[in-house]
């Protein structure tokens, strides 16, 4: 692993109802395309993209999960080791917004407590069909202390920004963690407080 050419490795997991555009967001970011008529995701898909941020190579492992209930137990197993979660809903679908608390409960239950969560409202190209007002989503995100961003996978709006902002935030936290850990020498067994972030940063 240390042979590989990167400074940071982060795991990002996309979650949210089926059909909100998770797969499209990932494809747009990793392959630069908007896939026409691909079927619903089965289980989880895995993609990698390495980006450079302020001269540092950051490898992003992106896990795209299926939204349907029957895949829930598969996707849940990825929460724990995730550095960041992208919780996605569709701004033209009130239902996908109303399911967010349920997703937050999943996060609460399975994710590690250092995980960075960002709420994403996708499909802003369909402005005329909008059902969830921006202000409402922003308020919700703030109440849950999440970041918030609106995107369009189709028009490639904010997609790059979404992943790059996330990478920046993760680097910031990783650096912070390293400082903290140096202050108080970490003890083994306190595994839960040792940051996953610092574990995967390489020097």
């Amino acid at each position: 692993m240390s042979m590989e050419d990167y400074d940071y490795l982060f795991k990002i997991v996309l979650i949210g109802n089926a059909g909100v555009g998770k797969t499209c967001l990932v494809r747009r970011f990793t392959q630069g395309l908007f896939p026409p008529g691909q079927g619903a995701t089965i289980g989880v898909d895995f993609m990698i993209k390495t980006v450079e941020i302020k001269g540092e190579k950051v490898k992003l492992q992106i896990w795209d999960t299926a939204g349907q209930e029957r895949f829930r137990s598969i996707t849940q197993s990825y929460y724990r080791s995730a550095n960041a979660l992208i919780l996605t809903y569709d701004i033209t679908c009130e239902d996908s917004f109303r399911c967010l608390p349920e997703w937050l409960r999943e996060i609460e239950q399975y994710a590690n407590n250092q995980v960075v969560t960002i709420l994403v409202g996708n499909k802003i190209d369909l402005a005329e069909k909008r059902e969830v007002l921006r202000q409402r989503a922003e308020d919700f995100a703030e109440a849950q202390s999440m970041l918030y961003l609106e995107t369009s996978a189709k028009e490639s709006d904010n997609v790059e920004k979404l992943f790059l902002d996330l990478a920046c935030e993760l680097i910031r936290e990783a650096k912070q963690n390293k400082l903290d850990n140096n202050d108080t020498a970490p003890m083994p067994g306190e595994g839960k407080t040792i940051s996953y972030l610092s574990c995967c940063s390489l020097n």
Binding site: G43, F71, S77, P188
Partner: protein, 761 residues
């Protein structure tokens, strides 16, 4: 210029094939004669036209030569320019005329050519119409004789005729006659379609495979591919259904052997899927031969509907009889932390879960195998048609059929329940192994670690046997979680609690259990690589299996998934190694150090301010080092027996460091005579010689400072140090600072402090 010939060709050009057609239907022999003659005429016309044009061109070219000479003459004639002008314009006119003449001729030739092509079409159509008559007659006879194959062949010929010919035929004078025969044909076609459908239905009802196949082959001749495949599919489905129902009845009713009973639903599903695979295999040739390539997909679509239905029945029975959902609920509520009220003893839950989990993974593996088989067959069938033309659409249809069929969804659901149950099984079994782990006196190893890793390995293997990559990855993730957080914590706490350091006995106990924990942790390291290796094998096998199917890049995606999940497991094993290192350091300081330290400080009690007599005494009766070696030997023997070689080596390394540091401290508290220094040198050599035999590490380096101290304590005079110092040090690298050298020199009671101070180091 012969006008009549050109005229003739123009007539020919305006010839209307439909006009000909009219005559044709009446008297075909006569017509063929006419056609032959026309052909001759056309050839003749074309030839003579060509000759004429050539002659004309030759003539003109000849004229051109003359004109050219004339022009030269004219040029010479200078003053007669006006004349030349007239001649020139005349010439130009003539050339233009020639040109248009040539063009005219060539256009005529083209027209002739077109006429010829049309004539050939006419002949072709005449043939068709003759066939039409032949079909009309033939189909009647064949129907009368119940020769349906022959009748269908006639209809097939009729259907492949050019519809426009038929339309044209109906517009002519003899339209009524043609219409009549057409009506007859169409009637025959309808009649045949009905008969064949009826016959096929009859054969299906009678379960007469020979007849079913006979009429199945006739459908494509009548252009009824879809209908034929649907009816045939229906027949095959009813066969499958009755067999499946029989099997399910056997499975749920009869008394089965103990062993078979545990996997009866997986077995029943296997029978169903194998049955369908066999049907596909058996009938694929007949479909390909009579329906052409690319139609297997349609047949499988029909079969899959029955498969879905029957598989669902089996799974429903499985869920019901095994209490699958019920078990899931128990697990679910058990995993929720604080559930009030009665909690079912996990041990019983686990015992019941074990066989069901195995059965589910087997069911999924069978389904995956079956779906892979179908995919392979369908793609091969498309490829037979045209390897290049396997379109995106074909691929997508196949994927859609396989990934979104009810069988797939049902299996996904089963696996969805399986994962939390397997996770629960793993966690609870690990908990149990930890709880049951009690230290027994005299026992060096604990079963707990081995048990835990056995369980984790078992669960991952079971997930692997499901053939579902997502399922495997999910279980690797859970295993990682159990090992990294829960289990590591338990180990860590044990290490911590293992060293109360009150009495030697306690320490010994702590050491022993810690030793075994450490040892097993290292074995865990081995397990990890083992696990990875076996997963690598499985992965290789998987990918081999799937390589053809995932040729679009899905394969590499799956590989990346497994690799990523496994690398997390590798990270965990690194953390275990860190824990081991820490534990060993702890072991050294809390268990070894308290014992070794007094053995070394007993050195203080042995005077090294000695004369000849005592030196000889020591020679005969070793006062210290032999006892130290014996003690160390005993201590290390215990470790050596209990520890794996790698851990033992790490521990001895830590111990030798400890010894050298303690020795150094002790020596600096002593005073030495010349012979005392020699005595110390001898003692140190014995100790180093012994330690060299018990470890593979190089001891000399760790004892370099002590060895140098011994050298100093052995000097004759203070200034002798200069023979070894600075430029005279040769290969020796001093590990002692000048201050330390002075400090050691001062230990010699016979060295004067002024001499030591005066040294220039």
């Amino acid at each position: 210029m012969s006008a009549p010939i050109l005229q003739l060709s123009t007539d020919l050009y305006s010839l209307d094939p439909s006009a000909l057609t009219l005559t044709l239907t009446n008297n075909s022999c006569y017509f063929l004669e006419v056609v032959k003659r026309w052909k001759l005429i056309i050839c003749f016309v074309v030839c003579s036209l060509q000759k004429e044009v050539e002659a004309e061109l030759d003539r003109l070219v000849g004229q051109e030569g003359t004109i050219h000479t004339k022009m030269l003459a004219l040029q010479r004639m200078g003053p007669n320019l006006q004349l030349i002008g007239g001649d020139a314009s005349q010439l130009s006119g003539m050339i233009t005329f020639t040109c248009s003449l040539a063009e005219n001729v060539s256009r005529k030739v083209r027209q002739l050519d077109l006429a010829k092509t049309r004539l050939y079409n006419v002949i072709q159509r005449a043939d068709d119409i003759l066939d039409l008559k032949f079909c009309t007659d033939g189909v009647q006879t064949a129907l009368r004789n119940e020769d349906y194959e022959q009748a269908a062949a006639h209809i097939h010929r009729y259907l492949s005729l050019d519809q426009s010919v038929i339309e044209l035929s109906r517009q002519g004078e003899e339209s009524s006659a043609v219409d009549a025969s057409l009506v007859m044909l169409q009637e025959a076609e309808q009649k045949l379609k009905v008969i064949v459908a009826e016959k096929l239905d009859e054969a299906v009802a009678a379960v007469d495979l020979a007849q079913v196949e006979r009429f199945f082959k006739i459908f494509p001749l009548l252009g009824l591919h879809q209908q034929g495949l649907a009816r045939f599919g229906q027949y095959l489905c009813s066969q499958l259904a009755s067999k499946a129902e029989e099997n399910l009845l056997l499975a749920t009713g009869g008394d089965l052997g103990e062993k078979r009973a545990l996997l009866i639903f997986a077995d029943t599903l296997t029978l169903l899927l194998e049955g369908i695979a066999r049907v596909v295999e058996t009938h694929q040739p007949i479909v390909e031969t009579y329906y052409g390539p690319g139609h297997l997909y349609t047949l499988i679509t029909h079969l899959q509907q029955e498969c879905d239905k029957q598989a669902q029945k089996i799974v429903d029975k499985f869920i019901q009889q095994r209490g699958y959902h019920n078990k899931f609920q128990i697990v679910q509520s058990s995993m929720m932390k604080s559930v009030p009220g009665e909690r079912i003893e996990p041990r019983y839950v686990c015992v019941e879960l074990d066989p069901v989990l195995t059965e589910v993974t087997l069911m999924n593996a069978r389904a995956e195998l079956y779906l892979r088989f179908l995919r392979r067959r369908m793609m091969a069938d498309f490829e037979v048609g045209d390897a290049q033309s396997i379109t995106q659409e074909h691929q997508q249809n196949v994927e859609k059929l396989l990934k979104h069929c009810l069988l797939s969804r049902t299996m996904q659901e089963l696996i969805g329940y399986y994962i939390p149950m397997e996770e629960y099984y793993m966690r609870e079994s690990v908990n149990k192994a930890v709880a049951m782990d009690t230290y027994e006196k005299g026992q060096l190893t604990s079963s707990m670690v081995d048990d835990c890793f056995y369980i984790v390995k078992k669960c991952i293997s079971r997930a692997l046997s499901s053939s579902s990559i997502d399922c495997l990855c999910a279980m690797i993730n859970h295993a990682n979680s159990v090992l990294e957080s829960d289990f590591r914590e338990v180990l860590y706490n044990k290490v911590r609690q293992g060293f109360p350091a009150t009495t030697l006995q306690d320490i010994q106990r702590g050491v022993s259990s810690a030793v075994s924990l450490m040892q097993s942790s290292l074995q865990q390291g081995k397990f990890n690589t083992l696990g990875i290796e076996s997963a690598e094998h499985a992965k290789a096998a998987f990918l081999n299996d799937c390589s053809k199917l995932f040729s679009q890049g899905g394969g590499s995606g799956d590989q990346a998934k497994i690799e990523s999940c496994l690398s997390d497991l590798v990270n965990t094993s690194t953390k275990f190694k860190d824990l081991l290192q820490e534990g060993l350091t702890e072991l050294n300081t809390t268990a070894i150090k308290p014992q070794v330290k007094p053995w070394i400080s007993s050195f203080l009690a042995i005077s090294h301010n000695i004369e000849e007599e005592e030196f000889n005494d020591y020679e005969a009766n070793d006062p210290w080092v032999q006892q130290l070696i014996v003690n160390l030997e005993q201590l290390m023997a215990e470790f050596k027996a209990a520890l794996s070689p790698v851990i033992y080596d790490t521990l001895t390394s830590l111990m030798t460091s400890l010894i050298s540091i303690e020795m150094e401290k002790t020596v600096l508290k002593c005073s030495f005579s010349r012979l005392g220094g020699l005595q110390f040198d001898k003692e140190l050599r014995s100790l180093v010689a012994y330690l060299t035999t018990v470890t593979t590490w190089t001891i000399r380096d760790k004892f370099a400072r002590l060895t140098q101290m011994a050298t100093i304590l052995n000097l004759e005079r203070v200034t002798e140090i200069l023979d070894y110092w600075g430029p005279n040090s040769g290969p020796l690298t001093w590990r002692l600072t000048p201050a330390e050298v002075r400090q050691v020199l001062a230990l010699r009671i016979d060295f004067r402090s002024e001499d030591i101070k005066r040294l220039r180091l």
